[in-house]
Symmetry: C2
Subunit: 306 residues, 2 copies
Protein backbone atom coordinates (compact mmCIF):
# COMPACT_ATOMS: atom_id res chain seq x y z
CA UNK A 1 0.00 0.00 0.00
CA UNK A 2 1.25 3.44 -0.86
CA UNK A 3 1.88 6.67 0.91
CA UNK A 4 1.60 10.29 -0.25
CA UNK A 5 3.85 12.97 1.22
CA UNK A 6 3.86 16.71 0.70
CA UNK A 7 6.73 18.82 2.00
CA UNK A 8 9.93 20.52 0.96
CA UNK A 9 12.71 19.31 -1.32
CA UNK A 10 15.76 21.45 -0.64
CA UNK A 11 19.44 22.03 -1.11
CA UNK A 12 20.90 22.12 2.41
CA UNK A 13 24.22 23.59 3.50
CA UNK A 14 25.07 22.38 6.98
CA UNK A 15 27.98 22.78 9.40
CA UNK A 16 28.47 20.80 12.59
CA UNK A 17 31.53 20.20 14.81
CA UNK A 18 31.98 16.99 12.78
CA UNK A 19 32.13 18.41 9.26
CA UNK A 20 30.14 20.28 6.67
CA UNK A 21 28.26 19.89 3.41
CA UNK A 22 27.42 22.43 0.68
CA UNK A 23 24.07 22.20 -1.14
CA UNK A 24 23.42 18.59 -0.20
CA UNK A 25 20.09 16.88 -0.85
CA UNK A 26 17.66 17.91 1.90
CA UNK A 27 14.11 19.01 2.74
CA UNK A 28 11.36 17.57 4.93
CA UNK A 29 9.71 15.55 2.14
CA UNK A 30 13.06 14.22 0.92
CA UNK A 31 14.21 12.86 4.29
CA UNK A 32 10.71 11.49 4.85
CA UNK A 33 10.51 9.80 1.44
CA UNK A 34 13.93 8.19 1.43
CA UNK A 35 13.24 6.77 4.89
CA UNK A 36 9.66 5.64 4.16
CA UNK A 37 10.66 4.06 0.84
CA UNK A 38 12.43 1.29 2.78
CA UNK A 39 8.93 0.13 3.76
CA UNK A 40 6.39 1.37 1.20
CA UNK A 41 6.02 2.97 -2.26
CA UNK A 42 5.76 6.78 -2.03
CA UNK A 43 4.15 9.56 -4.04
CA UNK A 44 6.26 12.67 -3.49
CA UNK A 45 4.38 15.97 -3.80
CA UNK A 46 6.90 18.82 -3.85
CA UNK A 47 8.50 21.57 -5.92
CA UNK A 48 12.03 22.08 -7.24
CA UNK A 49 13.69 24.82 -9.27
CA UNK A 50 15.34 24.64 -12.66
CA UNK A 51 18.76 24.37 -11.02
CA UNK A 52 17.94 21.20 -9.06
CA UNK A 53 20.69 18.65 -9.81
CA UNK A 54 19.55 15.77 -12.03
CA UNK A 55 21.52 13.29 -9.92
CA UNK A 56 19.22 13.94 -6.95
CA UNK A 57 16.16 13.29 -9.11
CA UNK A 58 17.73 10.04 -10.33
CA UNK A 59 18.43 9.03 -6.72
CA UNK A 60 14.78 9.58 -5.74
CA UNK A 61 13.64 7.59 -8.78
CA UNK A 62 16.02 4.75 -7.91
CA UNK A 63 14.01 4.21 -4.70
CA UNK A 64 10.31 3.33 -4.84
CA UNK A 65 9.46 7.04 -5.03
CA UNK A 66 6.97 8.21 -7.64
CA UNK A 67 7.94 11.72 -8.77
CA UNK A 68 4.92 12.42 -10.96
CA UNK A 69 3.94 15.07 -8.39
CA UNK A 70 7.40 16.64 -8.20
CA UNK A 71 6.83 19.98 -9.97
CA UNK A 72 9.75 21.78 -11.60
CA UNK A 73 9.20 25.55 -11.73
CA UNK A 74 11.18 28.42 -13.23
CA UNK A 75 13.65 29.91 -10.75
CA UNK A 76 16.10 28.56 -8.19
CA UNK A 77 15.36 25.71 -5.74
CA UNK A 78 14.56 26.16 -2.04
CA UNK A 79 17.76 26.43 0.01
CA UNK A 80 18.46 26.17 3.75
CA UNK A 81 21.71 26.89 5.54
CA UNK A 82 22.25 25.88 9.17
CA UNK A 83 24.79 25.17 11.86
CA UNK A 84 24.90 22.89 14.90
CA UNK A 85 27.12 23.12 17.97
CA UNK A 86 27.93 20.18 20.26
CA UNK A 87 24.34 20.29 21.45
CA UNK A 88 23.01 18.71 18.29
CA UNK A 89 19.42 19.16 19.45
CA UNK A 90 19.37 22.80 18.36
CA UNK A 91 19.67 23.91 14.72
CA UNK A 92 20.85 27.48 14.17
CA UNK A 93 19.42 28.74 10.87
CA UNK A 94 21.93 30.89 9.01
CA UNK A 95 19.92 31.50 5.83
CA UNK A 96 16.65 30.47 4.19
CA UNK A 97 15.88 31.11 0.50
CA UNK A 98 12.30 30.10 -0.27
CA UNK A 99 12.65 30.65 -4.05
CA UNK A 100 10.22 28.35 -5.98
CA UNK A 101 8.53 27.33 -2.73
CA UNK A 102 6.58 30.62 -2.78
CA UNK A 103 4.86 29.62 -6.05
CA UNK A 104 4.07 26.03 -5.04
CA UNK A 105 0.45 25.05 -5.71
CA UNK A 106 0.07 21.28 -5.26
CA UNK A 107 -2.33 19.59 -7.72
CA UNK A 108 -2.33 15.91 -6.85
CA UNK A 109 -2.10 13.20 -9.48
CA UNK A 110 -4.63 10.40 -9.42
CA UNK A 111 -2.14 8.09 -7.66
CA UNK A 112 -1.28 10.65 -4.96
CA UNK A 113 -4.99 11.24 -4.33
CA UNK A 114 -5.76 7.54 -3.91
CA UNK A 115 -3.02 6.50 -1.48
CA UNK A 116 -4.47 5.29 1.86
CA UNK A 117 -1.74 6.95 3.94
CA UNK A 118 -0.84 10.64 3.72
CA UNK A 119 1.90 12.61 5.46
CA UNK A 120 1.91 16.40 5.52
CA UNK A 121 5.56 17.16 6.26
CA UNK A 122 6.60 20.56 7.61
CA UNK A 123 5.39 23.22 5.14
CA UNK A 124 2.82 26.07 5.12
CA UNK A 125 -0.40 24.71 6.72
CA UNK A 126 -2.34 26.27 3.81
CA UNK A 127 -0.57 23.84 1.45
CA UNK A 128 -1.20 20.99 3.89
CA UNK A 129 -4.93 21.88 3.82
CA UNK A 130 -4.85 21.93 0.01
CA UNK A 131 -3.62 18.34 -0.02
CA UNK A 132 -6.28 17.27 2.49
CA UNK A 133 -8.98 18.79 0.24
CA UNK A 134 -7.79 16.71 -2.74
CA UNK A 135 -7.34 13.22 -1.24
CA UNK A 136 -10.01 10.58 -1.71
CA UNK A 137 -11.37 7.65 0.32
CA UNK A 138 -10.58 9.03 3.81
CA UNK A 139 -6.89 8.10 4.11
CA UNK A 140 -5.01 8.01 7.43
CA UNK A 141 -3.51 11.51 7.57
CA UNK A 142 -0.57 12.55 9.74
CA UNK A 143 1.18 15.92 9.84
CA UNK A 144 4.25 17.71 11.15
CA UNK A 145 4.68 21.46 11.68
CA UNK A 146 7.13 23.86 13.32
CA UNK A 147 7.37 26.90 15.61
CA UNK A 148 7.29 29.24 12.61
CA UNK A 149 3.74 28.16 11.68
CA UNK A 150 2.53 27.72 15.27
CA UNK A 151 3.45 31.33 15.99
CA UNK A 152 2.87 32.88 12.55
CA UNK A 153 -0.03 30.94 11.03
CA UNK A 154 -1.91 29.63 14.06
CA UNK A 155 -5.40 29.97 12.54
CA UNK A 156 -4.70 27.99 9.37
CA UNK A 157 -2.72 25.47 11.43
CA UNK A 158 -5.71 24.93 13.75
CA UNK A 159 -7.93 24.47 10.67
CA UNK A 160 -5.56 21.82 9.32
CA UNK A 161 -5.38 20.00 12.69
CA UNK A 162 -9.15 19.39 12.65
CA UNK A 163 -8.77 17.09 9.63
CA UNK A 164 -5.84 14.87 10.60
CA UNK A 165 -5.52 11.60 12.52
CA UNK A 166 -2.03 12.02 13.93
CA UNK A 167 0.31 14.93 14.69
CA UNK A 168 4.08 14.40 14.86
CA UNK A 169 5.91 17.34 16.49
CA UNK A 170 8.77 17.95 18.87
CA UNK A 171 8.56 18.71 22.57
CA UNK A 172 9.03 22.48 22.32
CA UNK A 173 6.46 22.67 19.52
CA UNK A 174 3.94 20.69 21.59
CA UNK A 175 4.37 23.10 24.51
CA UNK A 176 4.05 26.11 22.22
CA UNK A 177 1.01 24.77 20.40
CA UNK A 178 -0.81 23.83 23.61
CA UNK A 179 0.45 26.88 25.54
CA UNK A 180 1.09 24.46 28.40
CA UNK A 181 4.47 23.37 29.83
CA UNK A 182 3.42 20.00 31.27
CA UNK A 183 3.63 17.47 28.42
CA UNK A 184 0.80 15.28 29.66
CA UNK A 185 -1.56 18.24 29.91
CA UNK A 186 -0.27 19.60 26.58
CA UNK A 187 -0.93 16.27 24.88
CA UNK A 188 -4.55 16.32 26.05
CA UNK A 189 -5.07 19.89 24.84
CA UNK A 190 -3.57 19.11 21.43
CA UNK A 191 -5.72 16.04 20.95
CA UNK A 192 -8.79 18.21 21.60
CA UNK A 193 -7.73 20.22 18.53
CA UNK A 194 -8.28 17.27 16.19
CA UNK A 195 -5.64 14.54 15.95
CA UNK A 196 -6.57 11.47 17.99
CA UNK A 197 -2.92 10.40 18.10
CA UNK A 198 0.03 12.57 19.08
CA UNK A 199 3.69 11.64 18.65
CA UNK A 200 6.17 13.86 20.47
CA UNK A 201 9.75 13.76 19.20
CA UNK A 202 12.46 14.31 21.83
CA UNK A 203 15.64 14.04 19.79
CA UNK A 204 18.33 12.05 21.58
CA UNK A 205 15.74 11.13 24.25
CA UNK A 206 13.42 9.23 21.91
CA UNK A 207 9.72 9.82 21.34
CA UNK A 208 6.38 9.54 23.13
CA UNK A 209 3.04 8.39 21.71
CA UNK A 210 -0.25 9.51 23.21
CA UNK A 211 -3.00 7.20 21.96
CA UNK A 212 -6.42 7.24 23.64
CA UNK A 213 -5.58 6.96 27.36
CA UNK A 214 -2.31 5.13 26.73
CA UNK A 215 1.29 6.32 26.47
CA UNK A 216 4.29 4.67 24.82
CA UNK A 217 7.89 5.72 25.27
CA UNK A 218 10.15 4.86 22.32
CA UNK A 219 13.78 5.03 23.45
CA UNK A 220 16.68 6.50 21.47
CA UNK A 221 19.86 4.52 21.00
CA UNK A 222 22.98 6.28 22.28
CA UNK A 223 25.20 6.66 19.20
CA UNK A 224 28.96 6.88 18.96
CA UNK A 225 29.06 9.06 15.85
CA UNK A 226 26.55 11.76 15.05
CA UNK A 227 27.46 14.08 12.21
CA UNK A 228 24.30 15.90 11.16
CA UNK A 229 20.87 15.74 12.84
CA UNK A 230 19.14 17.58 9.94
CA UNK A 231 16.06 15.63 8.87
CA UNK A 232 16.14 13.20 11.80
CA UNK A 233 12.53 14.08 12.66
CA UNK A 234 11.47 13.56 9.04
CA UNK A 235 13.31 10.23 8.85
CA UNK A 236 11.55 9.22 12.06
CA UNK A 237 8.15 10.13 10.59
CA UNK A 238 9.12 8.34 7.37
CA UNK A 239 9.86 5.12 9.22
CA UNK A 240 6.63 5.41 11.24
CA UNK A 241 4.38 6.11 8.25
CA UNK A 242 6.22 3.74 5.93
CA UNK A 243 5.73 0.89 8.37
CA UNK A 244 2.06 1.79 8.99
CA UNK A 245 1.45 1.92 5.21
CA UNK A 246 3.23 -1.39 4.71
CA UNK A 247 1.23 -3.15 7.43
CA UNK A 248 -2.06 -1.18 6.99
CA UNK A 249 -2.56 -1.37 10.72
CA UNK A 250 -2.87 1.76 12.88
CA UNK A 251 -3.56 -0.07 16.16
CA UNK A 252 -1.58 1.06 19.22
CA UNK A 253 0.51 -2.11 19.21
CA UNK A 254 1.47 -1.68 15.59
CA UNK A 255 2.12 2.04 16.03
CA UNK A 256 4.65 1.15 18.74
CA UNK A 257 6.56 -1.04 16.29
CA UNK A 258 6.29 1.69 13.66
CA UNK A 259 7.82 4.16 16.13
CA UNK A 260 10.75 1.85 16.74
CA UNK A 261 11.30 1.60 12.97
CA UNK A 262 11.05 5.40 12.86
CA UNK A 263 13.66 5.64 15.62
CA UNK A 264 15.89 3.19 13.75
CA UNK A 265 15.69 5.30 10.57
CA UNK A 266 16.39 8.53 12.50
CA UNK A 267 19.40 6.91 14.17
CA UNK A 268 20.89 6.09 10.76
CA UNK A 269 19.96 9.52 9.33
CA UNK A 270 22.16 11.39 11.84
CA UNK A 271 25.26 9.25 11.31
CA UNK A 272 26.28 11.08 8.14
CA UNK A 273 25.58 14.43 6.48
CA UNK A 274 22.50 14.90 4.30
CA UNK A 275 20.99 11.54 3.36
CA UNK A 276 24.32 9.88 2.82
CA UNK A 277 23.91 7.12 5.43
CA UNK A 278 20.56 6.10 3.92
CA UNK A 279 22.04 5.81 0.43
CA UNK A 280 23.76 2.52 1.18
CA UNK A 281 21.59 1.34 4.09
CA UNK A 282 20.33 -2.25 3.83
CA UNK A 283 17.28 -4.03 5.21
CA UNK A 284 19.41 -6.41 7.32
CA UNK A 285 21.04 -3.35 8.95
CA UNK A 286 17.57 -1.97 9.73
CA UNK A 287 16.47 -5.27 11.30
CA UNK A 288 19.69 -5.54 13.29
CA UNK A 289 19.20 -2.08 14.75
CA UNK A 290 15.52 -2.79 15.50
CA UNK A 291 16.84 -5.69 17.58
CA UNK A 292 19.25 -3.32 19.36
CA UNK A 293 16.28 -1.13 20.28
CA UNK A 294 14.51 -4.19 21.70
CA UNK A 295 17.52 -5.00 23.86
CA UNK A 296 17.86 -1.36 24.90
CA UNK A 297 14.40 -1.16 26.40
CA UNK A 298 13.38 -4.67 27.39
CA UNK A 299 13.06 -5.55 31.07
CA UNK A 300 11.23 -8.22 32.96
CA UNK A 301 7.68 -7.56 33.97
CA UNK A 302 7.61 -8.13 37.73
CA UNK A 303 4.05 -9.44 37.56
CA UNK A 304 5.12 -12.11 35.10
CA UNK A 305 8.29 -13.12 36.86
CA UNK A 306 7.22 -13.03 40.49
Amino acid sequence: MSLTVIGTVALDSVESPFGKIEEGLGGSATHFSISAAFFSPISLVAVIGEDFPEEHIQFLKSRSINIDDLQKLAGPSFRWKGRYDYDLNTAHTLDTQLNVLTQFDPQLSSQAKQNPFVFLANIDPKLQKKVISQVANKPFIAADTMNFWIEGARDSLLEMLKDIDMLVINEAEARLLAQEYNLLKASNKIREMGPKILLIKRGEYGALAFYEDKIFNAPALPLEDIQDPTGAGDSFAGGVMGYLAKTQDTSFNNLKKAMIYGSVMASFNVEKFSLDRLRNLTHPEIEKRYQAFCELSHFENYELSA
Copy 2:
Protein backbone atom coordinates in the same frame (compact mmCIF):
# COMPACT_ATOMS: atom_id res chain seq x y z
CA MET B 1 20.02 -7.91 53.48
CA SER B 2 20.97 -4.43 54.54
CA LEU B 3 22.32 -1.33 52.94
CA THR B 4 24.60 1.41 54.31
CA VAL B 5 24.29 4.97 53.04
CA ILE B 6 26.42 8.02 53.75
CA GLY B 7 25.27 11.46 52.64
CA THR B 8 23.61 14.62 53.85
CA VAL B 9 20.59 15.08 56.10
CA ALA B 10 19.33 18.61 55.62
CA LEU B 11 16.64 21.16 56.20
CA ASP B 12 15.54 22.27 52.73
CA SER B 13 13.66 25.44 51.78
CA VAL B 14 12.32 25.12 48.25
CA GLU B 15 10.18 27.24 45.94
CA SER B 16 8.70 26.09 42.64
CA PRO B 17 5.88 27.46 40.46
CA PHE B 18 3.65 24.99 42.31
CA GLY B 19 4.28 26.04 45.91
CA LYS B 20 6.96 26.27 48.57
CA ILE B 21 8.23 24.68 51.76
CA GLU B 22 10.33 26.15 54.60
CA GLU B 23 12.92 23.95 56.32
CA GLY B 24 11.43 20.66 55.17
CA LEU B 25 13.16 17.33 55.66
CA GLY B 26 15.79 16.94 52.93
CA GLY B 27 19.33 15.86 52.08
CA SER B 28 20.80 13.24 49.75
CA ALA B 29 20.96 10.48 52.38
CA THR B 30 17.44 11.23 53.61
CA HIS B 31 15.76 10.96 50.18
CA PHE B 32 17.86 7.87 49.48
CA SER B 33 17.01 6.18 52.79
CA ILE B 34 13.28 6.82 52.78
CA SER B 35 13.10 5.45 49.23
CA ALA B 36 15.38 2.45 49.81
CA ALA B 37 13.61 1.54 53.06
CA PHE B 38 10.60 0.39 51.01
CA PHE B 39 12.83 -2.50 49.91
CA SER B 40 15.58 -3.09 52.48
CA PRO B 41 16.75 -2.19 56.00
CA ILE B 42 19.15 0.80 55.98
CA SER B 43 22.03 2.04 58.11
CA LEU B 44 22.08 5.84 57.77
CA VAL B 45 25.51 7.45 58.23
CA ALA B 46 25.07 11.22 58.48
CA VAL B 47 25.29 14.27 60.75
CA ILE B 48 22.65 16.62 62.16
CA GLY B 49 22.85 19.70 64.38
CA GLU B 50 21.32 20.30 67.80
CA ASP B 51 18.38 22.14 66.20
CA PHE B 52 17.28 19.17 64.06
CA PRO B 53 13.55 18.60 64.71
CA GLU B 54 12.82 15.48 66.76
CA GLU B 55 9.80 14.69 64.55
CA HIS B 56 12.11 14.07 61.57
CA ILE B 57 14.23 11.66 63.62
CA GLN B 58 11.07 9.83 64.71
CA PHE B 59 9.96 9.62 61.06
CA LEU B 60 13.27 8.04 60.02
CA LYS B 61 13.03 5.57 62.92
CA SER B 62 9.47 4.68 61.95
CA ARG B 63 10.87 3.27 58.69
CA SER B 64 13.39 0.41 58.69
CA ILE B 65 16.21 2.95 59.05
CA ASN B 66 18.90 2.33 61.66
CA ILE B 67 20.09 5.71 63.01
CA ASP B 68 22.95 4.43 65.20
CA ASP B 69 25.30 6.19 62.75
CA LEU B 70 23.36 9.47 62.71
CA GLN B 71 25.70 11.78 64.66
CA LYS B 72 24.32 14.82 66.46
CA LEU B 73 26.93 17.60 66.77
CA ALA B 74 26.91 21.00 68.47
CA GLY B 75 25.74 23.77 66.13
CA PRO B 76 23.01 24.21 63.54
CA SER B 77 22.03 21.59 60.93
CA PHE B 78 23.00 21.71 57.26
CA ARG B 79 20.54 23.87 55.28
CA TRP B 80 19.88 24.27 51.55
CA LYS B 81 17.64 26.82 49.87
CA GLY B 82 16.67 26.50 46.21
CA ARG B 83 14.22 27.52 43.54
CA TYR B 84 12.86 25.89 40.37
CA ASP B 85 11.21 27.52 37.37
CA TYR B 86 8.90 25.70 34.94
CA ASP B 87 11.93 23.82 33.66
CA LEU B 88 12.08 21.59 36.71
CA ASN B 89 15.30 19.97 35.50
CA THR B 90 17.40 22.87 36.80
CA ALA B 91 17.74 23.73 40.49
CA HIS B 92 18.80 27.31 41.25
CA THR B 93 20.66 27.33 44.60
CA LEU B 94 19.79 30.43 46.63
CA ASP B 95 21.74 29.60 49.80
CA THR B 96 23.83 26.78 51.30
CA GLN B 97 24.76 26.67 54.99
CA LEU B 98 27.12 23.76 55.64
CA ASN B 99 27.10 24.20 59.46
CA VAL B 100 27.75 20.82 61.21
CA LEU B 101 28.59 19.19 57.88
CA THR B 102 32.07 20.78 58.06
CA GLN B 103 32.88 18.78 61.22
CA PHE B 104 31.50 15.45 60.02
CA ASP B 105 33.88 12.54 60.56
CA PRO B 106 32.06 9.25 59.88
CA GLN B 107 33.00 6.36 62.20
CA LEU B 108 30.93 3.40 61.11
CA SER B 109 29.15 1.14 63.60
CA SER B 110 29.64 -2.59 63.33
CA GLN B 111 26.31 -2.95 61.50
CA ALA B 112 27.09 -0.20 58.96
CA LYS B 113 30.49 -1.81 58.30
CA GLN B 114 29.01 -5.26 57.64
CA ASN B 115 26.20 -4.41 55.22
CA PRO B 116 26.75 -6.06 51.80
CA PHE B 117 25.49 -2.99 49.87
CA VAL B 118 26.86 0.53 50.32
CA PHE B 119 25.75 3.80 48.74
CA LEU B 120 27.91 6.91 48.90
CA ALA B 121 25.36 9.68 48.27
CA ASN B 122 26.45 13.13 47.14
CA ILE B 123 28.93 14.49 49.72
CA ASP B 124 32.67 15.35 49.84
CA PRO B 125 34.56 12.48 48.10
CA LYS B 126 37.01 12.48 51.06
CA LEU B 127 34.13 11.38 53.31
CA GLN B 128 33.06 8.83 50.70
CA LYS B 129 36.63 7.43 50.74
CA LYS B 130 36.53 7.30 54.54
CA VAL B 131 33.49 5.05 54.41
CA ILE B 132 35.09 2.80 51.79
CA SER B 133 38.12 2.38 54.06
CA GLN B 134 35.93 1.18 56.94
CA VAL B 135 33.59 -1.34 55.27
CA ALA B 136 34.27 -5.07 55.55
CA ASN B 137 33.74 -8.12 53.31
CA LYS B 138 33.91 -6.34 49.94
CA PRO B 139 30.39 -4.98 49.67
CA PHE B 140 28.83 -3.79 46.38
CA ILE B 141 29.60 -0.07 46.46
CA ALA B 142 27.81 2.60 44.42
CA ALA B 143 28.29 6.37 44.54
CA ASP B 144 26.81 9.65 43.40
CA THR B 145 28.60 12.98 43.09
CA MET B 146 27.98 16.46 41.63
CA ASN B 147 29.55 19.22 39.50
CA PHE B 148 30.91 20.94 42.63
CA TRP B 149 33.19 17.97 43.42
CA ILE B 150 33.99 17.12 39.78
CA GLU B 151 35.31 20.65 39.30
CA GLY B 152 36.62 21.39 42.79
CA ALA B 153 37.87 18.06 44.15
CA ARG B 154 38.71 16.09 41.01
CA ASP B 155 41.73 14.29 42.47
CA SER B 156 39.99 12.89 45.54
CA LEU B 157 36.96 12.07 43.39
CA LEU B 158 39.14 10.05 40.98
CA GLU B 159 40.65 8.23 43.99
CA MET B 160 37.17 7.35 45.23
CA LEU B 161 36.05 6.14 41.78
CA LYS B 162 38.79 3.48 41.73
CA ASP B 163 37.13 1.64 44.60
CA ILE B 164 33.48 1.54 43.57
CA ASP B 165 31.37 -0.85 41.49
CA MET B 166 28.76 1.56 40.18
CA LEU B 167 28.52 5.32 39.63
CA VAL B 168 25.11 7.06 39.51
CA ILE B 169 25.30 10.59 38.08
CA ASN B 170 23.34 12.87 35.80
CA GLU B 171 24.00 13.58 32.15
CA ALA B 172 25.76 16.93 32.60
CA GLU B 173 27.93 15.46 35.35
CA ALA B 174 28.90 12.52 33.12
CA ARG B 175 29.97 14.90 30.35
CA LEU B 176 31.92 17.07 32.79
CA LEU B 177 33.62 14.12 34.49
CA ALA B 178 34.63 12.50 31.17
CA GLN B 179 35.37 15.83 29.46
CA GLU B 180 33.50 14.38 26.48
CA TYR B 181 30.13 15.48 25.07
CA ASN B 182 29.10 12.20 23.42
CA LEU B 183 27.43 10.09 26.14
CA LEU B 184 28.55 6.75 24.74
CA LYS B 185 32.18 7.85 24.60
CA ALA B 186 31.82 9.52 28.01
CA SER B 187 30.44 6.30 29.50
CA ASN B 188 33.46 4.36 28.28
CA LYS B 189 35.91 6.92 29.67
CA ILE B 190 34.18 6.94 33.06
CA ARG B 191 34.19 3.16 33.32
CA GLU B 192 37.94 3.23 32.73
CA MET B 193 38.18 5.33 35.92
CA GLY B 194 36.94 2.43 38.09
CA PRO B 195 33.19 1.70 38.23
CA LYS B 196 32.23 -1.24 36.00
CA ILE B 197 28.63 -0.04 35.91
CA LEU B 198 27.46 3.49 35.11
CA LEU B 199 23.93 4.79 35.57
CA ILE B 200 23.18 8.13 33.92
CA LYS B 201 20.15 10.01 35.25
CA ARG B 202 18.28 12.15 32.71
CA GLY B 203 15.47 13.63 34.81
CA GLU B 204 12.17 13.63 32.94
CA TYR B 205 13.81 11.56 30.18
CA GLY B 206 14.59 8.55 32.36
CA ALA B 207 17.97 6.88 32.91
CA LEU B 208 20.58 4.86 31.05
CA ALA B 209 22.63 1.93 32.32
CA PHE B 210 26.01 1.05 30.82
CA TYR B 211 26.93 -2.49 31.89
CA GLU B 212 29.76 -4.30 30.15
CA ASP B 213 28.99 -3.85 26.43
CA LYS B 214 25.25 -3.52 27.03
CA ILE B 215 22.97 -0.50 27.42
CA PHE B 216 19.56 -0.23 29.05
CA ASN B 217 17.19 2.72 28.71
CA ALA B 218 14.80 3.11 31.65
CA PRO B 219 11.93 5.40 30.62
CA ALA B 220 10.36 8.14 32.72
CA LEU B 221 6.61 8.29 33.14
CA PRO B 222 5.07 11.60 32.01
CA LEU B 223 3.43 13.00 35.15
CA GLU B 224 0.44 15.32 35.49
CA ASP B 225 1.55 16.99 38.71
CA ILE B 226 5.15 17.72 39.62
CA GLN B 227 5.69 19.98 42.61
CA ASP B 228 9.31 19.60 43.70
CA PRO B 229 12.07 17.61 41.95
CA THR B 230 14.49 17.96 44.90
CA GLY B 231 15.88 14.57 45.80
CA ALA B 232 14.47 12.78 42.74
CA GLY B 233 17.94 11.48 41.85
CA ASP B 234 18.47 10.24 45.42
CA SER B 235 15.06 8.56 45.47
CA PHE B 236 15.99 6.91 42.18
CA ALA B 237 19.26 5.63 43.62
CA GLY B 238 17.40 4.53 46.78
CA GLY B 239 14.99 2.42 44.74
CA VAL B 240 17.83 0.94 42.68
CA MET B 241 20.04 0.05 45.65
CA GLY B 242 17.14 -0.97 47.88
CA TYR B 243 15.95 -3.46 45.27
CA LEU B 244 19.49 -4.76 44.64
CA ALA B 245 20.02 -5.23 48.38
CA LYS B 246 16.65 -6.97 48.75
CA THR B 247 17.34 -9.38 45.90
CA GLN B 248 21.14 -9.70 46.38
CA ASP B 249 21.51 -9.89 42.63
CA THR B 250 23.58 -7.39 40.63
CA SER B 251 23.16 -9.08 37.25
CA PHE B 252 22.23 -6.86 34.30
CA ASN B 253 18.69 -8.26 34.17
CA ASN B 254 18.09 -7.57 37.83
CA LEU B 255 19.69 -4.13 37.62
CA LYS B 256 17.14 -3.25 34.93
CA LYS B 257 14.28 -4.11 37.27
CA ALA B 258 16.03 -2.19 40.05
CA MET B 259 16.21 0.87 37.76
CA ILE B 260 12.49 0.68 37.07
CA TYR B 261 11.86 0.57 40.84
CA GLY B 262 14.21 3.54 41.15
CA SER B 263 12.26 5.38 38.46
CA VAL B 264 9.00 4.54 40.24
CA MET B 265 10.32 5.98 43.52
CA ALA B 266 11.61 9.13 41.80
CA SER B 267 8.25 9.61 40.10
CA PHE B 268 6.50 9.60 43.48
CA ASN B 269 9.19 11.80 45.08
CA VAL B 270 8.51 14.73 42.72
CA GLU B 271 4.73 14.72 43.19
CA LYS B 272 4.90 16.62 46.48
CA PHE B 273 7.36 18.86 48.33
CA SER B 274 10.13 17.36 50.46
CA LEU B 275 9.43 13.69 51.19
CA ASP B 276 5.73 14.20 51.69
CA ARG B 277 4.53 11.86 48.94
CA LEU B 278 6.68 9.02 50.30
CA ARG B 279 5.25 9.44 53.82
CA ASN B 280 1.96 7.78 52.91
CA LEU B 281 3.14 5.74 49.90
CA THR B 282 2.10 2.06 49.95
CA HIS B 283 3.60 -1.06 48.40
CA PRO B 284 0.53 -1.68 46.20
CA GLU B 285 0.96 1.85 44.78
CA ILE B 286 4.61 1.03 44.00
CA GLU B 287 3.65 -2.21 42.23
CA LYS B 288 0.88 -0.47 40.28
CA ARG B 289 3.28 2.17 39.00
CA TYR B 290 5.91 -0.47 38.14
CA GLN B 291 3.20 -1.97 35.94
CA ALA B 292 2.59 1.45 34.34
CA PHE B 293 6.32 1.60 33.47
CA CYS B 294 6.03 -1.85 31.86
CA GLU B 295 3.14 -0.66 29.71
CA LEU B 296 4.95 2.57 28.87
CA SER B 297 7.93 0.83 27.33
CA HIS B 298 6.79 -2.57 26.12
CA PHE B 299 6.62 -3.27 22.40
CA GLU B 300 6.63 -6.38 20.33
CA ASN B 301 9.94 -7.81 19.31
CA TYR B 302 9.80 -8.13 15.56
CA GLU B 303 11.93 -11.28 15.64
CA LEU B 304 9.43 -12.97 17.92
CA SER B 305 6.30 -11.83 16.13
CA ALA B 306 7.33 -12.14 12.50
